[in-house]
């Protein structure tokens, strides 16, 4: 009996394996059969001689007649939506089909890999870097230094792209005059808040200073109902360091001071001064005012705390409203406002600026580089694509327009794009006016993320945050000093 069972189960396994071998190869191909009901704009396949100014958006890219001389090219690209969003996958596949109509020799394989600094190192080690990938704004320097990113200068110059993108962001993607990245989006940190909770507690505006925030948060905290007055990422990971840096910027920390560069090397410069003051403030938020959630939240649970009414004020990047809309479609999105971060002791509000930059693998052939860049530019600049995407928002719940992000471009193009976005916005844009005004008026100044070993710094600082919010006996000054020491020997002294 048992031996029969054994034979049977072995057979089942064998069949399974054989089947799976076929199954997996079939799914890796991006199904080209998907409905290609692209707008009837076959004219665009011809090289665009002159930007036609008739549409809602000026055409900035002159798409070439063919890529790689028409010979077959295969590329893998990130940003394919996950299977869990079938509508988005369908839209993505339709977009690929439209691109392939223009360039039939290009085969695009998508992956839903989402960049995180901790998983990317394994991809590099595993020789698995996609042809087109994305990194945080902290990381282009590291990618260039490690030789992971390809030089894109020639295409940029041919298309005059350096005049389209916001030069501040472009500079991060540029090294020694060579361009390595295509900016994808940029955000500035702000304070998201629950308007009705603030109103119920008698406040008609978000806090202007951090002291005010502490007091308001105290009034808003209701432990019995499980509501914390204020929340930010404290899970001890790099993301916690990212939020802590944001807060410290408002206390006067300069990104260039975090790691000071000199002829002799790099020196950690965050062990005292504004960083310590900010850390002390966080310590007080937890142990004096007692306004933080008891749980150590991560990126997702911090946003969730706002979306499920368990935090009244939350440090957040504006683009996370898109995520809230997608993940919690039932959340009362009109209840959430977005304001600049409160001003620090010297009276100014500073916003940490970050974002994503698309890069191309250094291992790609020139043909692959060309295909990958034009695929990226096609999705990002083709006017018909942008309009089609916005319009699909009506039927596709994953298309969210109107999150308070930063201008990625300059000049007419940015103005036209903003006008178009306003037309299709499905987020309550009026709720974000405080933030948008502060940014455009310069009332909130901007500061980029730390650029030297930025992610390593974040993860070292994240552990400090975890200690300060969980251990009442912790001494912020001593911990910060010790962390800076270890960071110096283990990270900075290793840089060349």
């Amino acid at each position: 009996m048992r031996s029969k069972l054994f034979v049977l189960s072995t057979l089942v396994l064998l069949v399974t394996l054989v089947l799976s071998a076929c199954g997996s190869s079939a799914t890796t191909e991006a199904a080209p059969e998907v409905a290609t009901e692209a707008p009837e704009v076959e004219e665009t396949t011809a090289p665009v001689e002159e930007p036609a100014d008739e549409g809602p958006l000026p055409a900035v890219i002159a798409f070439p007649a063919e890529i790689a001389g028409g010979s077959p090219v295969e590329i893998t690209v990130v940003q394919k939506p996950a299977d869990s969003q079938p509508e988005a996958v369908e839209a993505w596949e339709a977009q690929v089909a439209r691109f392939q109509e223009m360039y039939p020799n290009v085969t695009i394989t998508g992956t839903d890999y989402a960049y995180t600094p901790d998983s990317f190192a394994a991809l590099v080690a595993g020789n698995q870097v996609p042809t087109l990938f994305e990194v945080y704004l902290t990381d282009p320097g590291k990618m260039i230094e490690q030789g992971v990113a390809a030089d894109l200068t020639s295409i940029f110059e041919a298309q005059n792209l350096d005049q389209v993108f916001n030069p501040d962001i472009m500079s991060i993607a540029t090294q020694d005059g060579r361009v390595y990245g295509i900016p994808r989006f940029a955000y500035a940190m702000g304070l998201a808040y629950n308007i009705s909770m603030l109103n119920a507690a008698g406040y008609d505006a978000p806090p202007a200073t951090w002291e005010e925030l502490a007091v308001m948060a105290q009034a808003l905290t209701d432990r019995d109902a499980g509501v914390a007055g204020f929340s930010f990422i404290t899970d001890g990971s790099g993301a916690a360091g990212w939020h802590m840096t944001t807060i410290a910027y408002n206390f006067g920390l300069l990104n260039t001071d975090i790691v000071r560069q000199s002829d002799t090397g790099y020196a950690a410069g965050f062990s005292e001064g504004p960083m310590l003051e900010a850390l002390q403030f966080v310590y007080d938020l937890r142990w004096t005012y007692d306004v933080l959630p008891r749980e150590n939240l991560n990126w997702g649970t911090n946003g969730e705390a706002l979306a499920t009414g368990r935090a009244a004020m939350v440090v957040m990047a504006g683009d996370q409203f898109t995520w809230i809309r997608q993940t919690y479609p039932d959340a009362p999105i009109d209840d959430y406002g977005f304001a600049p971060l409160p001003a620090g002791p010297n009276g100014t509000s500073v916003s940490l600026v970050g974002g994503n930059i698309a890069m191309v693998s250094a291992q790609a052939t020139p043909e692959q580089v060309e295909a990958a860049v034009y695929w990226r530019l096609f999705t990002q600049f083709d006017p018909d694509e942008i309009v089609a995407n916005f319009e699909s928002g009506a039927s596709n719940p994953t298309v969210v327009v109107g999150a308070p992000t930063l201008p990625l471009y300059v000049g007419d193009y940015e103005a036209a794009l903003e006008a178009l976005q306003a037309q299709y916005a499905n987020l309550p844009v009026a709720n974000y006016q405080l933030f948008l005004d502060a940014i455009s008026s310069g009332q909130a100044s901007m500061q980029p993320e730390p650029l030297i070993a930025g992610q390593d710094f974040y993860s070292a600082l994240g552990a400090v945050v975890s200690t300060v919010v969980n251990d009442q006996s912790a001494d912020p000054a001593a911990i910060l000093l010790q962390t800076a020491d270890t960071f110096q020997t283990n990270v900075l002294d290793q840089l060349r």
Binding site: A228, R294, E295, A362, S466, T467, D471, Q494
Partner: protein, 310 residues
């Protein structure tokens, strides 16, 4: 069966004449073991040697690696986290032995006494061992949630104060050990049960006639008879706890206040978050040394018995 303990003591058969047929047979025999040897070489021995080599190098993925002597070890020993991580492991071990080691023994003893439902309880106890650990941890994280989590609500409802299970540096380790016990006790219970059932009932009958009370029988007969199993299980526990990774990785990311940082977690972060493969290899060597010490004893003890704990 004893051949396992000392393979070289196989019954020496008279040497056959070394004909051509003999050598052909030898070659064919090695053909049988070839896939195994190949896979072991590539998946085990190669990486083990590479770990040691890497620990003396600055490993670079896109350039050639450089020899840096003991530099990685200097950095490892100079990092306070190294001592924190190993201290955490020691504490984890002590708590897990205090809280978890005897639990399966007691459960097995009790199940063994029951005339009915023994099989039922055995299945229940074994159930958590079958759950993918990552899934179990996601559920436990919700149970332990500090704001309105179900465990705290239960405590409140019987008049006890809520606790910060995973946020309090003093509680995080015991809270994790509870999960480890929940996950692991089932397998141990089965092993102890099989040991208990190997004990001939005649011994108990004889002891009963000699006037030993049931408790005395447990103390003087049962426990000594399963003590060799217990030794092996203790070593196994040490080796398993020494490699703790998933629990802190999913539940606490090493916090609060580094109280659940473990060597494997730090190894993972050093290698796969910071691409510092040389330093990560130095950590690996430290793990290799410590864990191998216990593993050698474990393997010796297991082989010393007539059967193998699997």
């Amino acid at each position: 069966m004893t051949t396992l303990a000392n393979p070289s003591l196989d019954t020496p058969s008279p040497r056959p004449p070394r004909s051509r047929n003999f050598w052909k047979k030898q070659a064919l025999s090695y053909l049988v073991i070839l896939p195994t040897l190949l896979i072991f070489a590539v998946m085990t021995f190669g990486p083990i040697l590479t770990t040691i080599v890497y620990s003396f190098q600055e490993v670079n993925l896109t350039r050639a690696s450089e020899w840096v002597g003991l530099h990685n070890y200097v950095r490892m020993f100079g990092n306070p986290l190294f001592y924190t991580a190993w201290k955490n492991i020691a504490v984890f071990l002590i708590i897990s032995i205090l809280m978890g080691f005897m639990v399966p023994v007691f459960l097995a003893l009790m199940v063994n006494e029951l005339r009915h439902f023994g099989r039922f309880f055995q299945t229940i106890v074994y159930l958590p061992s079958l759950i993918p650990i990552a899934v179990a941890l996601l559920v436990w994280r919700q149970i332990y949630a500090p704001d309105g989590g179900v465990l705290n609500s239960l405590l409140n409802s019987i008049g006890l104060p809520a606790q910060l299970w995973l946020q309090n540096p003093d509680l995080a380790k015991p809270a994790i050990v509870v999960i480890m016990t929940w996950l692991g006790a089932g397998g141990s219970v089965l092993i102890y049960l099989s040991a208990l059932q190997e004990i001939p009932t005649e011994i108990y009958e004889a002891a009963e006639l000699d006037g030993f009370s049931p408790w005395q029988r447990i103390w003087y007969i049962t426990l000594p008879l399963i003590s060799s199993r217990m030794q092996i299980m203790l070593l196994l526990q040490i080796i398993v706890v020494g490699q703790v990774f998933t629990e802190p990785f999913i539940l606490t990311t090493g916090g609060p206040a580094n109280s659940t940082v473990t060597p494997v977690l730090e190894l993972y972060r050093t290698a796969f978050e910071r691409s510092d493969f040389g330093l990560a290899s130095a950590w690996s060597v430290s793990l290799l040394v410590v864990l191998s010490l216990f593993s050698i004893v474990y393997v010796r003890l297991s082989l010393g018995r007539e059967s193998i704990q699997y």
